[in-house]
C-alpha cells in the first residue's frame, strides 16, 4: 500500500493480514451478514460492501480469531462478479434461441466453483491424502463425468492446496472451452448451436459437491457455508434470474447466498420461472448506505475509527483533529458569529434553545457575510474533520480517496516522508477538486457570461442535460436558501408533493444511478402516506458553497416546479427572505422542513 496511510486497495486484492489490519467493526449492526440465511447486501458504490465481505472470509477470520480453518463458525467464499467476466455480450446470442438458462447457469456454476477452489488452494487445511483421494475418485470425478466432462483428471495430491489448485485449473479450462463455444455462435459460416461440453448446475453440482467437501478432514464440521456474490448487479438479467432461482431453492442453513449489489441496480427479483423472490421469505435485506447516510452520528464515529486506525498503522501518533485542523482564522470568525447569536438570542432568537440557533445560523451567516458575490463566498474553506467526514456523504471510499490525495499533496510525492498534519488549504483544495471532478466527469461545466456552475440548456432533449439542469437548480436554490434570512437555511433535499411523471422519474433515476442523488422516503405533507425524498450528495457542497455539517432540512416541490427547473436549469423556486413574500414562497415555511 506504499507510504500513504489512506491508500485504497481493492478489498479483493488485500491479503488476510492487510485486511485484518484494516478491519474496523463497521458492521456489528448487520448480524444477518454472518448468520445462516440468504441475504441481499445493498449500498451505494464505495460504501464498504466489498470490505465487509473481505473481512468475513475464512483467511481473515482465521487470522483475527487465531483459529484453524476447521474451528471457524462457517466457511465463506467470495465470488466477485466483474463487469465483463460473466456477463459476456456473446451470451445474448443464446437468448430466445438455444437453452439460454441452462448454458448461463453452467457458466455461472463453473465461475462459482472456480473461485471457491482458488480460495481453498490458498487456505491452510489439515490434509488427509487418503480421504481426499477417496472424495475425488469416488465422488467428484463421477459427478463431473456424469455432467459430461470427458477430459483426463490430473490431480496433484501432494497437499490440500495443490489438490484444490488442480480443481481450480480444471474449472478454469472449462471456462476457456465455454468461451470458445460462445465465439463459435457468432462467427462461423453456418450457425451451429450444437453443444458437447459438460453442463453443471447449482442443485445438481455445487450443492452436493460442497456438502461432500465440508465433510473432508480439516473443514469446519456441521457448519454453514456462505457464498458471497459480490457486485451481482453486474450480472445480466438472465443470470440474475438464475441466481434468484438458486436463492429460492432453500439450501440454507447448509449453504447461504450473500448477494451484494448497488442500490437499485440489481436487474430483477424474478426467478427463471418468473416467480418473485421476496423478503423475508426468501432473503433478508441489509442496506448499508441507508444506515450510514441517515444516521450521521454513526457514520461519523465509524469514519473517525477508520481514519484513526489508518494513522496508527502508519505510526502517525497525532490526534485526528490535529492531523486535519480547521482553518483557524475562519474558525475564529465563526466563533464570533456564534457569540453574536448567543448575545442576541433573547431579542432575536428563533429556535427553542440558543444552541439550536447557533447550530443553524452561525456557519450560514459566516458564508453570507463573506461577500456580496458568490465568488467571495467561494473563499469558504472546507477543512477540519467535521467538514471532511460530512462531505463524504456516508461513502467510505470517498473519504479515503480524499484523505489519500491530501496526504499525497502534503508529502509532495516524496515516498517515506513523514506528514504530521494536512494543512487547511490542502484539505480545502482536495475537497473542492474531488467535488468538481465527480460532477464535471458526468455533466458539462458552465461557461460564458452567466457563470452557471453547470452548463444549463433551455428545454434540453436528453436526460443528461435535464439532470444537469436539475442539479444546477438544486445547488443554486440551496445556496440561496443558505444565505437568505429564512428560518431554516441548511437544505440539501427535495421532497415531492405529488407523484413524479415519467420524465422526472427518469431524471431522478439517472441522478441516483450516478450517485448525485440519494433516494429515500418520508411522510407526505398530509400525513397519510409516504413520498419521495431526493438528497443532493453532500460532496457537492463546495461546488455550490453549502454547509454540509449538522442538521439538514428539505424542501417540498411540486411536479410543475420541478419540470420548470428541469427545463430552465435556473432555480427550483424563487426564494425570499421571509416566509410570506408571495404565494409560491409561502410554501417554504418551517413546516416544509423535516429532520432527515
Amino acid at each position: 500500500m506504499g507510504n500513504n496511510p489512506f491508500a485504497i486497495v481493492s478489498p479483493e486484492y488485500l491479503n488476510a493480514e492487510q485486511a485484518n489490519q484494516l478491519f474496523v467493526d463497521l458492521y456489528s449492526d448487520y448480524p444477518e451478514v454472518t448468520r445462516a440465511g440468504n441475504t441481499f447486501i445493498t449500498g451505494a458504490r464505495g460504501c464498504g460492501k466489498s470490505m465487509l465481505i473481505r473481512c468475513s472470509l475464512s483467511d481473515v477470520l482465521m487470522m483475527r480469531e487465531q483459529k484453524k480453518f476447521s474451528e471457524l463458525p462457517f466457511a465463506a467464499f467470495c465470488i466477485p462478479i466483474k463487469k465483463t467476466s460473466l456477463n459476456l455480450q456473446e451470451l445474448q446470442s443464446l437468448e430466445n434461441k438455444h437453452a439460454p438458462y441452462m448454458l448461463n447457469e453452467h457458466f455461472m456454476a463453473i465461475h462459482v466453483m472456480m473461485y471457491i477452489f482458488l480460495q481453498l488452494s490458498k487456505i491452510p487445511i489439515e490434509y488427509n491424502e487418503r480421504k481426499y483421494k477417496d472424495f475425488i475418485c469416488n465422488f467428484y470425478e463421477k459427478k463431473l463425468k456424469g455432467a459430461g466432462y470427458r477430459e483426463e483428471f490430473q490431480i496433484d495430491y501432494s497437499s490440500s492446496n495443490s489438490l484444490f489448485y488442480s480443481l481450480y485449473t480444471q474449472m478454469s479450462n472449462m471456462v476457456d472451452d465455454f468461451v470458445l463455444y460462445l465465439n463459435r455462435l457468432l462467427f462461423v459460416d453456418k450457425l451451429d448451436y450444437s453443444y458437447d461440453l459438460p453442463i453443471i448446475s447449482f442443485t445438481r453440482f455445487i450443492v452436493p459437491v460442497l456438502e461432500q467437501i465440508m465433510a473432508l478432514p480439516g473443514f469446519p464440521k456441521s457448519k454453514p457455508i456462505f457464498i458471497f456474490i459480490d457486485d451481482a448487479d453486474n450480472l445480466s438479467e438472465i443470470q440474475a434470474r438464475i441466481l434468484n432461482t438458486w436463492l429460492a431453492s432453500r439450501t440454507q442453513p447448509m449453504i447461504s447466498l450473500k448477494i451484494s449489489t448497488q442500490i437499485g441496480s440489481y436487474k430483477t427479483f424474478l426467478t427463471s420461472n418468473k416467480i418473485l423472490i421476496e423478503a423475508p421469505h426468501d432473503y433478508q435485506e441489509v442496506n448499508i448506505s441507508y444506515l450510514l447516510t441517515n444516521k450521521n452520528e454513526d457514520f461519523y464515529k465509524k469514519a473517525v475509527n477508520i481514519l484513526e486506525k489508518r494513522l496508527s498503522i502508519a505510526l502517525i501518533n497525532v490526534p485526528l483533529n490535529q492531523f486535519f485542523p480547521v482553518d483557524e482564522q475562519q474558525q475564529l470568525k465563526i466563533q464570533e458569529e456564534e457569540q453574536r447569536i448567543k448575545e442576541n438570542y433573547e431579542i432575536a432568537g428563533r429556535g427553542y434553545r440558543v444552541n439550536d440557533d447557533v447550530r443553524r445560523y452561525a456557519i450560514p451567516n459566516y458564508i453570507r457575510d463573506l461577500g456580496g458575490k458568490r465568488k467571495s463566498r467561494y473563499t469558504y474553506k472546507y477543512a477540519g474533520l467535521d467538514n471532511i467526514i460530512h462531505l463524504s456523504s456516508g461513502i467510505i471510499r470517498y473519504l479515503l480517496d480524499a484523505t489519500g490525495k491530501m496526504y499525497d499533496y502534503a508529502s509532495n510525492g516524496v515516498v517515506n516522508s513523514s506528514v504530521a498534519q494536512i494543512s487547511p488549504s490542502i484539505q480545502n483544495r482536495v475537497m473542492r477538486e474531488k467535488a468538481n471532478e465527480y460532477l464535471f466527469n458526468e455533466l458539462r461545466k458552465g461557461k460564458g457570461s452567466n457563470k452557471e456552475i453547470l452548463a444549463v440548456s433551455s428545454n434540453p432533449d436528453n436526460l443528461t442535460d435535464k439532470l444537469a439542469n436539475l442539479i444546477n437548480a438544486m445547488g443554486s436554490t440551496f445556496h440561496e436558501i443558505l444565505i437568505s434570512d429564512r428560518a431554516e437555511r441548511k437544505v440539501f433535499s427535495i421532497a415531492l408533493s405529488n407523484n413524479p411523471d415519467d420524465e422526472l422519474m427518469q431524471v431522478f433515476n439517472l441522478g441516483v444511478r450516478l450517485g448525485f442523488l440519494h433516494e429515500s422516503f418520508i411522510g407526505n405533507k398530509d400525513g397519510n402516506g409516504k413520498t419521495y425524498l431526493y438528497v443532493l450528495n453532500r460532496c457537492f457542497a463546495p461546488v455550490f458553497t453549502l454547509d454540509p455539517t449538522g442538521f439538514q432540512g428539505y424542501l417540498f416541490m411540486t411536479n410543475e416546479d420541478l419540470k420548470k427547473a428541469v427545463r430552465s436549469g435556473k432555480y427550483l423556486r424563487k426564494i425570499g427572505n421571509n416566509n410570506d413574500d408571495d404565494d409560491e414562497v409561502k410554501q417554504l415555511t418551517l413546516d416544509d422542513f423535516w429532520e432527515e
Binding site: 500500500m1 506504499g2 500513504n4 491508500a7 485504497i8 486497495v9 481493492s10 479483493e12 486484492y13 466483474k82 463487469k83 465483463t84 467476466s85 456477463n87 459476456l88 455480450q89 456473446e90 445474448q92 446470442s93 472456480m114 473461485y115 482458488l118 481450480y168 478454469s172 471456462v175 476457456d176 468461451v179 460462445l182 465465439n183 457468432l186 462467427f187 459460416d189 490525495k405 499525497d408 510525492g413 471532478e437 464535471f440 466527469n441 458526468e442 455533466l443 458539462r444 461545466k445 461557461k447 432533449d461 436528453n462 436526460l463 443528461t464 442535460d465 439517472l510 450516478l514
Partner: protein, 329 residues
C-alpha cells in the same frame, strides 16, 4: 511493410480499385459524407450504408444518410441499434455473409464515423473471412477539429459512461489467479478513462498516449490533454504500471507498441481503444492474436452531437489483407 497511404481526399480514387463494394457508416458527424461524396460512383457496384436507428441519433444523422444515399444510388441500408451489441453484430454478420455468398472479392470501407465497437466487430468478421476477400481497402478521414468552437480547455466529445461491456468477438479469457491489467489508448476523453478505472478496478493500469496525430491541428489539444493525463495519472500511482506512446495514424507501429506491453506477461489484459479508428484497428489485431486480451467498450451517456467534429482534407488508405498477413500468427 503494410500498404498505408495518405493523401488529400480529392485524390482518393487513385488508390481505389476499378470496381468494388462500398461500406460506410452514416452518423451525426458531417465527416460521414466526406469520403462518399468524393468517390467515383460508377466504380461502386453497390453501397451498404450502416445506420443507427435509435430515434434521437437517427434524427441527427438523417442529413448524412440522405446525402450519401442520394449520391450513391445503388445503396442499401443496414439498420442497427448501437446500444445493443448483438444488433450490431447480427447486422454486420449478415452483411459479410451476403458478400461471401455473392462472391464479392473487393470491398472498400470508410471507417471514419463507425463507432469503435462496430468497427471492432467488423474487423473480427473480416478477419474470420479473410481467405475469401482479395482486397479490403480501409479509408479514414480524420477530423480537422474536434469539439468545434471550443478551446482545448472546454473541449468535450462525450459525457459520462453509462456502462462498460466487452466487445463481441473479443471476450478473451479472464483467469481469476492472474492480475487484471487495463490498457487504455487515450484520446480526448479523460472522463471515460476515469470511469473505466473506477468500474473495472484493475490491478495494473497502463496508459497509451497518442502521438503522430492524423492532422497537425490536433497538436495543441493533444499537448493540453497530455498535461491533463499527467495530472490524472497521479490519482492512480498505486496501480500505474507504465505509460507508452502510440501512433494515432500508423497502425503497424501501434501494433508493435501494444505487443511490447503485452508479450511475456501472464496477466489478464483488458484493452480499451479511445483514440482514432486507426489505432482501434491496431487493438483488434493485437486481441485477435492473444486470447488473454479482452477488448471493452465504455458506452457514454451523451455525445457532443452538435459539434463533435469537422472533417479534414486528408484520407488514410490501408490495405487490411496486408495487415492481417503481416500480423496474425
Amino acid at each position: 511493410m503494410c500498404n498505408i497511404d495518405r493523401d488529400t481526399i480529392q485524390k482518393i480514387n487513385c488508390y481505389l480499385p476499378s470496381s468494388y463494394i462500398f461500406i460506410c457508416f452514416s452518423s451525426f458527424e458531417s465527416r460521414s459524407t466526406s469520403i462518399p461524396l468524393c468517390l467515383e460512383k460508377q466504380r461502386i457496384r453497390k453501397a451498404y450504408v450502416i445506420r443507427n436507428m435509435e430515434s434521437d441519433i437517427m434524427i441527427q444523422s438523417q442529413y448524412s444518410f440522405d446525402t450519401i444515399c442520394e449520391y450513391i444510388e445503388a445503396s442499401e441500408t443496414i439498420e442497427i441499434n448501437i446500444s445493443k451489441s448483438l444488433s450490431i453484430a447480427n447486422a454486420i454478420i449478415e452483411l459479410i455473409s451476403n458478400l461471401v455468398i455473392a462472391n464479392e472479392k473487393t470491398i472498400v470501407i470508410d471507417i471514419s464515423t463507425f463507432t469503435h465497437e462496430a468497427l471492432l466487430i467488423l474487423i473480427k468478421l473480416l478477419y474470420d473471412n479473410r481467405e475469401h476477400f482479395q482486397t479490403i481497402k480501409i479509408l479514414y478521414n480524420g477530423a480537422k477539429q474536434y469539439s468545434i468552437g471550443d478551446t482545448p480547455e472546454e473541449m468535450w466529445l462525450s459525457k459520462g459512461c453509462r456502462d462498460i461491456r466487452n466487445v463481441l468477438g473479443y471476450a478473451g479469457v479472464i483467469k481469476p489467479n492472474l492480475n487484471n491489467h487495463l490498457i487504455i489508448l487515450t484520446g480526448f476523453e479523460i472522463e471515460r478513462a476515469t470511469k473505466l478505472v473506477e468500474l473495472l478496478d484493475p490491478d495494473y493500469l497502463t496508459l497509451g498516449e497518442g502521438v503522430e496525430p492524423t492532422e497537425s491541428e490536433h497538436i495543441e489539444a493533444m499537448s493540453r490533454f497530455k498535461e491533463k493525463f499527467a495530472d490524472w495519472k497521479n490519482n492512480y500511482n498505486n496501480i500505474l504500471a507504465e505509460s507508452f506512446e502510440f501512433s494515432c495514424r500508423d497502425v503497424q507501429t501501434t501494433i508493435t507498441k501494444l505487443d511490447k506491453v503485452i508479450n511475456g506477461k501472464e496477466e489478464n489484459f483488458i484493452l480499451v481503444p479511445l483514440n482514432t479508428k486507426l489505432s482501434t484497428i491496431a487493438t483488434a489485431i493485437v486481441a485477435l492474436n492473444n486470447r488473454k486480451v479482452q477488448i471493452c467498450y465504455p458506452i457514454p451517456e451523451l455525445y457532443n452531437v452538435k459539434n463533435y467534429s469537422e472533417p479534414s482534407e486528408h484520407v488514410t488508405i490501408l490495405n487490411l489483407i496486408d495487415l492481417f498477413e503481416k500480423n496474425i500468427k
